[in-house]
């Protein structure tokens, strides 16, 4: 039986990052999350268990900003992929964490040619 459970729901930024990373992995055209080498400036693909390193989450009041650093497949329409990724992340966060006011910033750190 679905009852209103008394209390408040707090979602930590790490969880938001995990959710966003999960949405990103399923997004068509996105190869994975990336971390950038500070010195060399070279983007490196992150393994699936370290996705958080490629995602920054900050919030102010109810406004959440999600920064995603991604690597995309070469030869896909990047504008479309970015817009798909943005809407997937916003939709997932709304569904699961009930966050309404989410701003998603996608940074394409690299392309993979195969």
């Amino acid at each position: 039986m679905a009852h209103l459970i008394p209390g408040k729901l707090r979602v930590s930024n790490d969880v938001i990052a995990d959710l966003a990373g999960y949405a990103a992995l399923e997004c068509y055209g996105v190869i994975g999350m990336a971390t950038t080498d500070e010195q060399g400036g070279v983007a490196r693909l992150l393994p699936a268990n370290k996705l958080r390193k490629g995602i920054g989450v900050s919030s102010e009041g109810g406004h959440v900003i999600v920064n995603l650093h991604v690597i995309v497949e070469q030869g896909v329409n990047m504008a479309s992929v970015v817009s798909n990724l943005t809407s997937s992340v916003r939709f997932l966060l709304k569904q699961i964490a009930e966050l309404e006011d989410v701003e998603v910033k996608v940074h394409i750190e690299g392309m993979r040619a195969s």
Partner: protein, 559 residues
């Protein structure tokens, strides 16, 4: 005519079929974001390809076509389905470039699909099953199993169409969100539609495509297609609202002779209604039109061939049914579903209401010391909750009578009043709630929880009077009140609140203090007060909130 030319001619025809069905595909869109744009995105993506392909001369090589497809679909890709489609098309086009000789063989088709699968799957880290990608993979493995067959290329293509639809029909089993919504994946369906339209365009012009083996025996494949198509039956767009035409008319048509002119007949259909569609290849066509005169349509067509499988739906009636159903659903939703146990509480400020609602109260009635809600107000709130049993928390001694009267007057629910005297008391009571238990049990538990709670209020004196111990009080003084007795009198809210807490703690030590700031209490002052209390009682567990209640700068409870 070569493979390149076949694609150049048939691709635009297939793209047009997808564009015609875009609205139907849009309706299926529930994944990954239910924004209802898959069909539109797909047809826009294909449209850019068509523009580039049609610009090529008839002598264009397969390499030119592949370039046009790759470039067009890359530039035009819109939405998820569009991006995936662009990769699929690029892979197939690349695969077809490798064909040696003029004739295309089943092995070439398998090779093209294999390449397409590679290209399409490398662009995603975690492919989701039950989407276009699944359909593509199923088609690729079907093509692979047929690469050494003795069947003609047309038969192989027909088999692939069947496989595509079967795979589409399986998508709801793979992706639960589709099953929930009772649809197949929109992108997958769109892609199967495109492929089927492409194949039938290729076969319908068999006479011109001499490079292909012309011995086609499509009957069995057609039957299978029809069966599978019925498994993925889609509600046709006969529930469109606001159409000026009443009848959705659909039938199959077999043209009597070659003089049948598709364009002329389409013009005739459009003169009688909208959403007209005449698809297929001579001599078999499917006709669909929204019109007020299905009799004219049938009479016109019957002079030009045979008609069969006629379906006529009255969209007006269906739309009315649907409107009525939606209205009924909406009415039910507004009242909220009937619950076993509901809660009504009286609150004096917006902050109090917010906290009470977060603790499980369904409806808050505004009220308080000087603005007692009427019995009717409370009764209305009880009705609004729409529950079998309702517990009322009056949160003030003065409101208890009105609440009891409302409880007695209510005949739609069994109502119990738990006589809370303040909002902090209500908080303690609400922590004792068990939504699975009956109202009577809950009322008992809540009353038990209340017996340990003592509360205090701090307010301004509005006229001269005297305190419990006889201290004179002047208008404007600050008073600390417990149980209707004025125990502390002073000039600052801070000091009075602290003194009152000290007196109550001396009387009996508590372990939790719940304190609410009134509307007139500034955040900084409130924080300072809480700080002083913490200093005085480091072991006390302090819950501080903004209650925004009027008149009382501070109310609190100790338990």
């Amino acid at each position: 005519m070569s493979v390149a030319n076949a694609i150049r001619t048939c691709f635009p025809l297939a793209a047009r079929v997808v564009a015609d069905r875009a609205e139907e595909i849009n309706k299926l869109n529930v994944f990954p974001v239910p924004d209802g744009d898959t069909g539109t995105n797909m047809s826009l993506t294909l449209g850019t390809v068509v523009a580039e392909v049609e610009a090529l001369p008839a002598s264009a090589s397969m390499q030119d076509i592949a370039k046009a497809i790759t470039h067009g679909s890359l530039m035009g890709a819109r939405g998820n389905s569009g991006v995936i489609t662009s990769q699929i098309l690029r892979g197939i086009a690349e695969g077809l470039c490798d064909i040696k000789g003029d004739e295309i063989t089943p092995a070439d088709i398998a090779h093209a699909f294999k390449r397409s699968q590679e290209v399409a799957f490398q662009a995603v880290r975690k492919p989701v099953e039950g989407t276009i990608l699944t359909v593509l993979r199923d088609m690729a493995s079907k093509a692979d199993s047929l690469k050494k067959t003795k069947k003609s290329v047309f038969d192989v293509l027909d088999d692939l169409v069947v496989e595509a639809y079967e795979s589409v029909a399986r998508t709801p089993d793979l992706l639960p969100v589709l099953k929930e919504n009772g649809v197949v994946d929109s992108g997958a369906f769109g892609f199967a539609t495109f492929f089927e339209a492409f194949v039938s365009a290729v076969e319908g012009k068999a006479g011109e495509l001499r490079d292909f083996d012309p011995t086609v025996e499509p009957v069995s494949a057609e039957d299978a297609k029809a069966q599978v198509a019925s498994a993925v039956a889609i509600e046709l767009n006969d529930d469109w609202e606001g159409s000026e035409y009443r009848y959705c008319t659909e039938f199959l048509f077999h043209a009597a002779d070659e003089s049948f002119d598709v364009d002329e007949n389409l013009r005739f259909l459009s003169s009688l209604g909208d959403c007209e569609l005449l698809v297929g290849a001579f001599p078999d066509f499917k006709i669909h039109v929204h019109t007020n005169r299905p009799d004219y349509v049938l009479r016109h067509m019957i002079h030009r061939g045979q008609i069969f499988e006629v379906f006529i739906h009255n969209m007006d009636l269906e739309a009315k049914d649907r409107t009525a159903r939606i209205a009924a659903d909406k009415a039910a939703a507004e009242k909220g579903p009937r619950k076993p146990l509901g809660l009504v509480a009286v609150a004096a400020g917006s902050g109090e209401e917010e906290i009470l609602e977060s603790l499980g109260v369904d409806v808050c009635v505004s009220g308080g010391q000087t603005m007692n809600p009427s019995t009717a107000d409370i009764l209305a709130a009880v009705e609004q909750v729409n529950a079998d049993e309702v517990i009322i928390l009056p949160n003030n001694g003065n409101i208890r009578m009105a609440a009891e009267a409302a409880a007695a007057a209510c005949d739609s629910s069994h109502v119990i009043v738990v006589p809370t005297k303040s909002v902090p008391q209500a908080f303690s009571a609400l922590f004792a709630i068990d939504f699975e238990a009956s109202a009577a049990e809950n009322a008992e538990n809540m009353s038990d929880a209340l017996s340990d709670v003592r509360d205090g209020e701090v307010t301004h004196a509005v006229r001269d009077s005297s305190a419990a111990d006889g201290t004179p009080i002047h208008a404007g003084d600050i008073m600390g009140i417990q149980n209707d007795d004025i125990l502390v009198v002073g000039s600052s809210v801070d000091q009075v609140a602290l003194d009152l807490i000290v007196r109550m703690m001396d009387e009996e030590e508590g372990d939790t203090l719940t304190i609410l700031a009134g509307a007139d209490m500034a955040d900084a002052d409130f924080a300072a007060l809480v700080g002083r209390i913490e200093e005085a009682y480091p072991d006390l567990d302090i819950e501080s909130h903004r209650g925004e209640q009027p008149l009382y700068p501070v109310i609190f409870s100790i338990e």
